[in-house]
Symmetry: C2
């Protein structure tokens, strides 16, 4: 596995692979890899002859009061995991390499970004869209794989990719979960044993909503209330938002006519956890 | 010369040229080509084995009260001129092809864009930066050539290209002028015969400033006042701005220590003309 720290070297590597007719599949990550990431890497191996994984904890997508400094990092472990998956290149740039002095350009996805996560994390998706566009120009992949756990992020990136005409296929990968349903996330490391027991209430809320819709309930308010009650039954969990939205525009909808997205963010102790489910009628 | 109207076809064409090891040089234009554009095309021919010219009057860089509808268009003439220059591909997409329904992503260059032109044309450089990034992803050039007449645009594009890590070399080309010094511009077509006679006052102002600096004047205020007087002597010309700036940051400077940019925008009848000169000590 080639370890690449410089943008220019990454571009040269990618250009050579492209000229040789190789299809490049890309998995951008913030490291501290778990089985969810490794599932993305395995999906990428099926999508391209060359797989590039990036590890970059992007300061631009954290607000000053958020957990940038505390965000878990373990490069040696990540590297060994990726070696084991036979990844072709690990792109591991420094913050100074990604954001040299004078950087002043950013990308906004106007209508999708301010909703849901954007309401509670203003500026977050500006940081995400900008760094992903930068990484796309550094890695020049044919396809890129993102987890559906961050559903809004996936939609923002799909939109940005299409709107800026990046010739890159964006692939969403189903959320990987622990046995009790908790979505894998690097932030789960923040949970105490007791908090870890409270965390699957998010998944139970999603399941409760799915069951109601399967039983014929179409009123988004009633479905949301039932899901909310699952989480509110757990004293350590505090809901930040729980919304039923159009899967494309992410606008809240009053009725579930076809598919609808149930998206939620919940604080459990020091961890802010997000999850979602597609409710299908 | 291949005429390409669809984004996908442009990307396929470009990908084939790249795989064949051809260097692609790109000249984005809004059409109604004049000798200034043709000079860019000839420069591009020296920079790449394949030359792509785009013609697209970008609605996103015009404010509602500006001249988007009136902007001169003459595709048949432009096409013949480019055939004559042996251009390889003319990219001529429709507005619906460039901005399909749902488009909502834009690019801002934070500190450069609000200055000078940005002060009088808010949103202009957002439109420029966004469409140029889109065109870069459509055409995938190795190098792109822009005229120095639009100096701030060139700086905004250089910054955007660098900040978003486009692997594209940006080349500035000296302004092409008529015999009396008027910078070539498609907007010169708006001038009546009398207004055309008033327009070279812009060039005289630049020359006056250059002469003063050559004589040792270092006070930006005195140089600007002398340049301003040249234009104010012309009753049909009305100055919108005339500034002496740092060539990199475009911030106004009080003294001309090394190089400084004199940038100006002047209304002459229905035409808004811009021009600039690099003042060198």
């Amino acid at each position: 596995m080639r370890i690449i720290e410089k943008v220019k070297e990454m571009q040269v590597w990618s250009d050579a692979a492209r000229r040789a007719g190789r299809r490049i599949a890309f998995v951008p990550t913030m490291g501290t890899l778990h089985d969810g990431h490794l599932a993305l890497v395995r999906a990428a191996k099926k999508l391209g002859e060359r797989v590039v994984v990036s590890i970059f904890v992007n300061p631009a997508q954290f607000a000053p009061d958020e957990d940038f400094a505390a965000y878990p990092r373990d490069f040696a472990r990540d590297r060994a995991l990726l070696e084991n998956e036979n990844v072709d290149a690990l792109f591991y740039p420094s913050a100074a390499e990604v954001y040299p002095d004078g950087c002043q350009t950013h990308i906004d996805v106007e209508r999708l970004a301010p909703l849901l996560e954007g309401e509670f994390r203003p500026g977050h998706f500006r940081g995400v869209a900008t760094v992903v566009a930068k990484l796309f120009n550094m890695v020049r992949p044919h396809t890129a794989v993102f987890g559906e756990k961050d559903y809004q992020q996936l939609q923002v990136i799909r939109r940005m990719t299409k709107d800026l005409n990046f010739d890159i296929e964006i692939v969403g990968h189903p959320t990987v979960r622990d046995a009790d349903g908790l979505a894998l996330s690097s932030r789960n490391a923040y949970l105490s044993a007791r908090e870890r027991q409270a965390a699957p209430s998010l998944f139970r809320a999603l399941k409760r909503a799915e069951a109601l819709v399967a039983q014929g309930e179409r009123c988004a308010g009633r479905v949301a209330a039932a899901a909310r009650a699952e989480i509110e039954g757990e004293p350590l969990a505090e809901i930040e938002y729980l919304r039923i939205c159009d899967p494309e525009t992410l606008a809240e909808i009053p009725r579930i006519e076809h598919a609808a997205l149930l998206a939620l963010a919940v604080r459990v102790g020091p961890a802010r956890l997000i999850d979602n489910a597609m409710l299908k009628t």
